[in-house]
Amino acid sequence: MTDQLARIVGYIDQLQAFSEIEQEGAGSSEAAAEAADAVAPGLPRASFLDNAPAARDGFLLVPAVKTAEAEGP
């Protein structure tokens, strides 16, 4: 994969040839409409937890990241 990535980055390096680089503009000329800044119901917790690899008592279950020994005095 290293060789493949090197070839791809080598290809992308052709962008350097575009010497007359302009400063980035304001993006698309078509302004997108923004969603209303209003409170709306979120995804039900049960639906979210159904897709988690592990859950308990209404929360995502993740491996311990802090052991008793690491907590110190």
């Binding site: 990535l5 791809i8 992308i12 962008l15 007359e20 409409a33 969603a35 897709n51």
Partner: protein, 496 residues
């Protein structure tokens, strides 16, 4: 008389609404055809036969009660596996989403259901829509119905193969750098990438948020226009969807192209197009001219950098979008990890395939400290220049034409070890993606091996009506008709 599975979406809807055929009969024909062809083609990851039967019966009941069942009444459709349908599995053909069930339905799919469409299943794709051959699916190989030893294109290879094989008249995919148009080209069908913002992305799993767009794959331009009218429109749940008028795609579809100014890119002539593809390209221009269009040669010099720009911008966005798949919140978690960091690393290492990893690494590199300006910043700057050049050209012509793909369908495995060669399949499709323009791919002829070739027509932002009208005029002149029974070369007896 055509069998029900051979009918266009427009004709199916007409017959179902006129009670000349029932939605249940149409669905039965589609499921029978799918059962015959899909063991050969492998377009579907899952077929929802029972649910589809229930939906077809409901449409028949509504029509019997005198209700309007919608413009796609009883039309069987296939959905790419990155479109959310509540209660159904959604994997993006990736191991990392094993077991994930969509908790809500994509806006585009909601619109299809409201219009009377009958989704019959999840169609295969390149993992997370990253690929041009459908070979990057973690689930299965999908084969091109025109030649089972060749790829159907990608990333919407499953939807394209489903339509080309005659399983459904309409399918829906996503296009980030050409993922609707390129498989449509390689599979001999029509594919439309609408203007960025035309169709809500709510419920579409994000790959590169600045270019992702949902669109139809169809057997003809009329069905693509019909489908666009259904799924287009502003959606408050997608802040990038545009509050622009929708419609008019069918009304002037048959008006022809007399007097239309069509830009032919000089860069195509100098870009190394060869053989049958070059001959087909030139005859396409002649055909457009014979139809009354004025062909104008134009130039967009920065197009030479389009693939490079795309693979910086899209991978940068992908590296951020895919960070959410961490083994904690969705689907697969690697067993045996003992710390949170190990969960992340092991789950992503096991869950993502090689192409997704390659693009995450490329994007992370392009955004990393010390390289951001040289790669991402420069790509964005060249993109700005490309946008200005294209806007300038589209002030003088109504639409632009190019081939859709530099080659016809290639053999399975032929480019598997050369990702750069695969990326260069996108040379003609990435400019419209990067600049948000609408673009249509449609069949234009055959190469020397009898494989389909394709013309791409791109237009001004939100002017899909002109793009579709030009496409329909071209289609009428070419006289193309997808021939599903012919398509399964070497397997005709098995499916007819």
């Amino acid at each position: 008389m055509s069998a029900l599975w051979e009918l266009s979406a427009a004709e199916i809807s007409r017959r179902v609404r006129a009670r000349e055929a029932s939605a249940a009969e149409v669905l039965a024909a589609a499921l029978a055809r799918t059962a015959a062809v899909d063991p050969l083609v492998g377009a579907y990851l899952e077929v929802w036969a029972d649910e589809a039967r229930g939906r077809a019966e409901e449409i028949d009941r509504r029509i019997a009660a005198g209700e309007d069942a919608g413009p796609l009444a009883g039309v069987p459709v296939a959905l790419k596996d990155n479109l959310s349908v509540a209660g159904h599995r959604l994997t993006c053909a990736s191991r990392i989403l094993e077991g994930y069930v969509a908790p809500y339905t994509a806006t585009a799919v909601e619109k299809l259901l409201a219009a009377g469409a009958v989704p019959i299943g999840r169609a295969n794709m390149d993992e997370f829509a990253m690929g041009s051959s459908c070979e990057n699916s973690s689930a299965q190989l999908t084969r091109n119905p025109w030649d089972l030893e060749r790829v159907p294109g990608g990333s919407s290879g499953g939807p394209a193969a489903a339509v080309a094989a005659g399983s459904v008249p309409l399918a829906f995919g996503s296009d980030t750098g050409g993922s609707i148009r390129q498989p449509a080209a390689l599979s001999g069908i029509v594919g439309l990438k609408p203007t960025y913002g035309r169709v809500s992305r709510f419920g579409l799993v994000a790959f590169a948020s600045s270019t992702d767009q949902i669109g139809p794959l169809a057997r003809d331009v009329r069905d693509a226009a019909l489908a666009l009218g259904v799924i287009a429109g502003h959606d408050p749940r997608d802040a990038t969807s545009a509050a622009r008028p929708v419609g008019g795609y069918l009304e002037r579809l048959e008006d022809g192209i007399r007097g239309l100014k069509i830009g032919s890119l000089r860069e195509v002539e100098t870009g190394g197009l060869a053989g049958a593809n070059a001959r087909c390209w030139r005859s396409s221009l002649e055909l457009l001219a014979r139809s009354g269009a004025e062909i104008v040669e134009v130039s967009v010099p920065s197009l030479a950098a389009a693939v490079a720009v795309y693979y910086v911008v899209a991978t940068s966005e992908a590296s951020a979008n895919l960070a959410r798949f961490d083994g904690v919140r969705y689907g697969r978690r690697a067993p045996g990890a003992e710390s949170l960091a190990e969960v992340y690393v092991a789950s992503r290492s096991e869950g993502f395939g090689p192409e997704v990893k390659r693009r995450i690494m490329l994007g992370t590199f392009a955004l990393s400290s010390g390289y951001r300006d040289a790669y991402y910043g420069r790509a964005r700057a060249v993109l700005t220049r490309m946008r200005r050049e294209l806007e300038g050209v589209l002030e003088s012509v109504d639409v632009l034409v190019t081939p859709t793909s530099p080659t016809a369908a290639f053999r399975i495995g032929e480019r598997a070890d050369d990702p750069l060669a695969m990326y260069l399949s996108d040379v003609y499709t990435t400019p419209a993606s990067l600049t948000g323009l609408p673009a249509l791919a449609l069949p234009s002829g055959f190469d020397d091996e009898g494989l389909p070739l394709s013309l791409q027509i791109a237009g001004r932002p939100f002017d899909e009506a002109t793009v579709l009208r030009a496409g329909r005029a071209f289609e009428r002149e070419v006289g193309w008709r997808v021939e599903p029974a012919f398509g399964l070369r070497g397997a005709r007896e098995a499916v007819t």
